[in-house]
């Protein structure tokens, strides 16, 4: 109690002395990332002006394209479709990898059985899954879901296996001695121990899913960000390709900072309280 109370007291003091708005106080944390974006834009603009070619559109042109796809609501609609497919495929892979990961981590036979499939999965390019699924399942929803699940599962299951193996054996023993219920063990021992691994697995998994879905939409589907990218490409609209990429990139950043990092902070709050 005193530790927490002391922490908030100190924060209270700095607030009163400085009286700075929240945004300004957050500046040191976000400044480097903002600087990266500015440097990237400047370099791009410099290159565009130097090349002076329609193949390298200026920052302004890309921004105008982004505005065009956003203003009609087209971008949000298409991103919604793509994101929905990602979440579906990702959920399938996530559930499977939790079950199989726990089994593999606790059973040597299961781990050795699963190992080749993980290595195979990690080395097969997303492009191959996309092509095969389009051939096998055509334009149905099965295509994106299965190909994403196949593309994401190996990385996710590796994280789960690592997470399960990292659960403190002494705590498992403790839970056994005090006869904690299966539910309590799951909620208070397994999930909190696994959570950091699940979050970092999701981070890798979501980025892999994005790389697969773009290909699936490009080859086999008639909507979604991948399809839009392809149609801009077909009409040789480089600014359009860049605009779609950037808009989707922004969505992924929102997911990263809004969901994953928030979850991560909540999951590890006990470590930071200890550090005060």
């Amino acid at each position: 109690m005193t530790e927490i109370a002391k922490g908030s007291y100190e924060r209270g003091v700095t607030n009163r002395v400085r009286k700075t708005p929240a945004l300004l106080r957050a500046l040191p944390a976000i400044l480097p990332s903002v600087m990266f974006c500015v440097v990237l834009l400047l370099l791009w603009e410099g290159m565009a002006r130097y090349e002076a070619s329609p193949l390298v559109p200026s920052v302004g042109e890309v921004a105008a394209e982004a505005k065009r796809i956003l203003s009609g609501g087209l971008a949000l609609q298409q991103i919604g479709i793509t994101l929905g497919r990602i979440l579906l495929g990702f959920s399938v892979a996530f559930s499977l990898s939790i079950i199989l990961g726990i089994v593999a981590a606790r059973n040597v036979f299961a781990r050795r059985f699963l190992e080749p499939s993980i290595i195979l999965g990690l080395t097969v390019p997303g492009l191959v899954w996309a092509l095969l699924c389009v051939i096998w399942f055509g334009v149905s929803l099965t295509t994106p879901v299965v190909s994403i699940a196949l593309g994401v599962f190996p990385a996710l299951v590796l994280h789960v296996i690592q997470g399960v193996q990292s659960v403190d054996a002494e705590l498992i023993e403790m839970a056994k001695i005090f006869r904690l219920s299966r539910r309590d063990k799951f909620l208070h021992l397994w999930i909190p121990s696994l959570l950091p691994y699940l979050i970092s697995g999701s981070r890798v998994g979501l980025s892999l899913a994005w790389k697969v879905i773009v290909l699936v939409e490009l080859f086999g589907l008639s909507n979604g960000v991948g399809y839009q990218l392809n149609s801009e490409f077909s009409s040789q609209n480089v600014a359009g390709v860049l605009a779609w990429t950037i808009v989707f990139w922004v969505v992924m950043i929102v997911i990263e900072y809004g969901i994953l990092q928030t979850l991560e902070k909540r999951a590890t709050i006990w470590r930071r309280v200890a550090a005060t």
Binding site: I177, S181, D184, V273, A274
Partner: protein, 245 residues
């Protein structure tokens, strides 16, 4: 409420890595602990003290022989204090104690009362990581007593603490013990601690382990850490230990 415990003709071997022959730690080993008695197991490292404790905890199964805890058929309520407190660092102090209490079918209020008793009333909602080593072990004690144990296992419970803190916690353990004495097994390398806490000290030696000596500590509780009789008992235990080493 407490449960008597009987080790009957226990045999246990371990196969060490890179060793072709299994090593027999216990062979035809028998020991009875009365209900409400606190028994200290002492002896050289590797003699099988922890194995006995693990067998009592159900973490290991003897190769032959049997162990009986309690007289009724149901498993006895078990509390244990480990060398390291083994707390769930991501759950509050209170949740740590409550989880054990509710698993044993006890009212969670009992957990709170015990945190009070161990002097942590102001720390119930903090994470264990913000506590000192001594405070963490207090949580461990509160958890072990929160289940109202019939059998209490103490695995070098205070060996990781500085002497002054350890001494305070031994007094606290004595206090908690008095309220509803469970049957207890204490494994320790601190002979003065064994003398202070136990009713009977069993000195183990040899391979497979044999009981070399049993020393009764017939002192009324509460005991005082400076009682000359404890030093006398300590001397006796040490004499036996040095003679078998």
């Amino acid at each position: 409420m407490s449960a008597p415990i009987t080790f009957a003709s226990i045999g246990k071997s371990f196969r060490r890595p890179h060793s072709p022959k299994p090593e027999m730690v216990l062979d035809n080993f028998s020991l009875h602990i009365r209900s409400g008695e606190l028994l200290a197991l002492v002896g050289p490292s590797g003699v099988g003290k922890t194995t006995l404790l693990h067998i009592a905890a159900g973490l290991e199964v003897p190769d032959i022989g049997s162990i009986t805890v309690g007289s009724s058929g149901r498993p006895a309520r078990l509390g244990m204090v480990f060398q390291q407190p083994r707390l769930l660092d991501w759950r509050s102090v209170r949740t740590n104690v409550d989880l054990a209490a509710t698993a044993a079918g006890k009212d969670p209020k009992r957990g709170l009362a015990l945190l009070n008793a161990v002097g942590l009333a102001d720390y119930t909602e903090v994470y264990p990581t913000s506590l000192s080593g001594g405070q963490r072990q207090r949580v461990g004690l509160a958890r072990a007593f929160a289940v109202e144990p019939e059998l209490l296992l103490l695995d070098e419970p205070f060996s990781a603490l500085d002497e002054l803190t350890a001494r305070r916690l031994r007094l606290l353990l004595q206090e908690l013990w008095k309220q509803a004495p469970p049957t207890g097994i204490l494994v320790t390398h601190n002979m003065l601690e064994a003398a202070f806490l136990a009713d009977r000290v069993v000195v183990l030696g040899g391979k497979p382990a044999r009981i070399r000596e049993e020393i009764l500590i017939e002192l009324r509780r509460p005991r005082h850490p400076e009682d000359p009789a404890l030093f006398e008992a300590h001397r006796k235990i040490m004499t036996v230990l040095t003679s078998i080493a």
